[in-house]
Symmetry: C2
Subunit: 497 residues, 2 copies
């Protein structure tokens, strides 16, 4: 796939320089339209050590207004030190609407290098390739323009450039052990880059640039950026079609089939609660030591008892090892990015617990019902969410999802109680009453959600919460059992790709 | 200062438990009022290893709604690995309005430990103590309720607790080398904690809790939190008075005294630009290796040429080593925190350059003139900003501030040109014309700002920009000279406290 072009002839050089100037002017003219159209652009720049990635970015941004772009250089962290899923730094760095992010090395370099160094297994490599394709499709379908460039030089050219850098005392430090190793193993890297590029073109193509002719590379990169931007600006913002689902799903009942009569007596409640909380406290120690990340997702009807349930789960945990994330309407800087961004950036570190009080499932509930996204958007979301959660469990996370369930009568009783009790009045708003009127629509959406996203790796549990105490005990039992299983069996390297 | 109380008697225990219950209920009742009043609360919890800081926090949050609090545990990073000013993790973690942040160890532990381990010098220790007092006063004056608790146990108690942890295979790992070292050096730590607390009570008092009687400690912490919160909720949000300035200031001219006739010829411009950019490119390498952080601040009249000036400075820089931060109106999550928060969180790492296109000086210009803050707020800001910038230069940063200056005629000519040139029209808005009408008020504010914040460590430069090219060359020269000086002379340990 990689080809090296001939050297420029002098008359070509002048032509290239002229073209670069013209393209830069076009790009400048596009800036403001990017903002108006709210188009986000992610330009990934990969390539050999000393191929000139930094210089290329410098040329690309030289005339741009800083309000329209960012340059990010995610560090390649050794596998043993990484506390987040491997896509985390890239997902966290996606541009907001109307901006360009230039990424200096990203998901390719980190994956290829770790595979060559045997920091990750072949299975893990394959999972990452799949995750990369998913990630790129999700961005594309969410209206992002993604460009992937690979800056190529041959082994001889790399040798000469590394030599030149080493011979200058000002730049000597730039040549790292990593670079020298890559140069020694040029052939293996070449093969590995090729293989990676071939398997990650499902949705977004790679463009190989001739790094030996610097100006030509700049011209080609600019041309690609300007042309693709122009094309995107000329159309409606892209919205991807729903994607065929392919996840093995658990069989789940409809909400109306769930028997809500389960209860627990006060004495048994106290006994069980104490026992389960003590056990959870012990398990928190173990998951911390085993570096298992845990993600607990709470959804449910208003007044179903989510808050009290979460408090009983959180109480025995060491507060330094967990966070509760109450998820409200997105803030402007969150709305300006793909909808999963605000969850990517709230993921727990390994060994920590994140409890989400409402989650990314807002996409297929409130956003669907209130028209905050298009029909294509929420229909696509089931699969996107399944992919996201598989990326989390592939990383080693325990992901549990609870639908805290009550019936309409119980909700009415609790609403009325809140209304009539001064210290509880703040908990009930006009919106709660409005949502209550939409119970049937919500029930349809929730049934569809549970049916389409109950995967083995990230299952839903419908928690009967007409009796809140019963619900708390049941939730605690599920969590304790799942953590026990994870602590006994889980090694990071078990899942099949 | 530290005293150990006697053991609880049984009858006391019941009373304490009852009081805890009542206090927790009060705290729950305060939650919603916190939000209404937009009161932010920062609770710092320091103390001995094994004193029970985690358990204390667990008890404090057990009944709270997760929407109203966060628990943060900033890591103590060894001095050699820290890439940010020492207050950075704490400044970044301050609560937003209406929320409580419980901080498990913070600026005390990190400073005391590093001083005892000789990771920082006595001078640096003293500077940090000063910075802590400044930080606490700035939070208080910005309407924050800050509580500082120290959980105390004696040496014997610590021995027994560490022993107990070590003997249980589930908790053995919790006892770190650091903890054992602290225990061996209990006396030195005791003295050092005492000294630190004594010197950091200028604005916010310390409260020592008796960690040997766990329930009493919880009761006392809750009591303090509830009482102080009640008091704060009962009053108007606190706004601090302007603080007496004490910074040695450079003598600066008034804007109207500046001669704007300076020009540069085209040929000389090209030659100088090339020379200075080449030099800056070299220096970027050196500051990277020497780990010197650089902060360039741009302010100036609309259409004065800030953008073009910044681009000429940025062009020779390696894009992986700098960021341009365009500062617009704050987003809601930024408005909800002390005004310097959005700049703390945008500081460069050591060895990197941050260019601010507009800065924290908005406080004493647009926020002052448009009434976005109170008079006390902006009057206090001169000193707060001088303190902030001294914290930055004490950290080792080069801080340069440019006022890009033009006269009213030049602005009018440029505005008109923008209006008449289709591709420039987006750069001119109604707001620009409105601001222009307030030129005299802005001039007064800028003169006052420059007079009150031109410190030796973070000087202002008024850049004559009627001729933009002249302005670029002048700015580049100032930057090159400052970086050369920093690279030659600067060692991290030179400033006097």
């Amino acid at each position: 796939m990689l080809k090296i072009f001939e050297e420029n002839r002098p008359e070509e050089k002048a032509a290239v320089a002229g073209e670069i100037k013209a393209l830069r002017e076009k790009l400048m003219g596009q800036q403001q339209r990017l903002r108006e159209k709210k188009l986000p652009i992610l330009v990934l720049i990969e390539g050999w050590a000393a191929a000139g990635k930094g210089s290329l970015i410098k040329e690309l941004i030289s005339e741009l207004d800083p309000r329209f772009y960012n340059v990010v250089s995610p560090a390649v962290v050794p596998e043993s030190e990484s506390r987040y899923p491997f896509l985390y730094p890239y997902a966290a760095a996606i541009p907001e609407n109307g901006k360009i992010v230039f990424m200096d090395s990203g998901w390719m370099e980190s994956t290829v290098r770790k595979a060559l160094y045997h920091e990750i297994t072949e299975n893990e490599y394959n999972r990452r390739v799949r995750a990369v394709n998913e990630f790129e499709r999700q961005l594309r379908d969410g209206g992002y323009l993604v460009l992937k460039l690979f800056l190529h030089i041959d082994r001889k050219e790399q040798f000469e450039r590394l030599q030149a850098l080493k011979e200058n005392s000002d730049t000597e430090w730039r040549v790292t052990e990593e670079d020298l190793r890559q140069h020694r193993e040029y052939k293996s890297f070449h093969k590995a880059y090729d293989a990676f590029m071939e398997s990650t073109q499902e949705y977004v193509k790679w463009h190989v640039l001739d790094g030996q002719r610097r100006k030509t590379a700049v011209r080609d990169a600019l041309r690609l950026l300007v042309e693709r931007t122009e094309k995107a600006l000329g159309k409606e913002r892209y919205v991807g079609d729903p994607f065929e689902e392919k996840f093995p799903l658990l069989k789940m009942p409809l909400l109306r089939e769930v028997d809500l009569s389960a209860e627990i007596g006060e004495e048994e409640y106290r006994k069980e609660l104490k026992k389960l909380q003590d056990r959870l406290s012990e398990l928190h120690n173990v998951i911390y030591r085993k570096k298992i990340p845990v993600i607990l997702c709470y959804e449910g009807w208003d007044a179903a008892g989510k808050g009290g349930n979460i408090r009983r789960v959180a109480y025995p945990l060491d507060p330094r090892g967990f966070d509760v994330h109450p998820i409200a309407s997105p803030e402007p800087h969150e709305l300006n990015r793909q909808y999963l961004w605000r969850f990517w950036t709230r993921l727990p570190r390994t060994g920590h617990i994140a409890i989400f009080d409402r989650t990314w499932y807002g996409r297929v509930m409130v956003e669907r019902l209130e028209g905050f996204c298009t029909e294509k958007d929420w229909k696509r979301a089931y699969n996107e969410i399944n992919e996201f959660e598989r990326q989390l469990t592939d990383w080693g996370a325990v992901v549990l999802k609870f639908w805290i369930h009550i019936d309409q009568d119980t909700q009415l009783a609790r609403f009325t109680d809140r209304q009539n009790t001064p210290e509880k009045q703040w908990k009930i708003t006009e919106e709660d009453w409005r949502n209550r009127e939409k119970w049937p629509q919500y029930e349809t959406a929730v049934d569809e959600m549970i049916r389409k996203t109950s995967t083995e790796n990230a299952p839903w549990y419908i928690i009967e919460s007409n009796d809140k105490k019963y619900a708390r005990i049941r939730t605690l039992k599920i969590i304790v059992r799942a953590l026990e299983k994870a602590c006994e069996n889980r090694f990071r390297e078990t899942a099949e790709p």
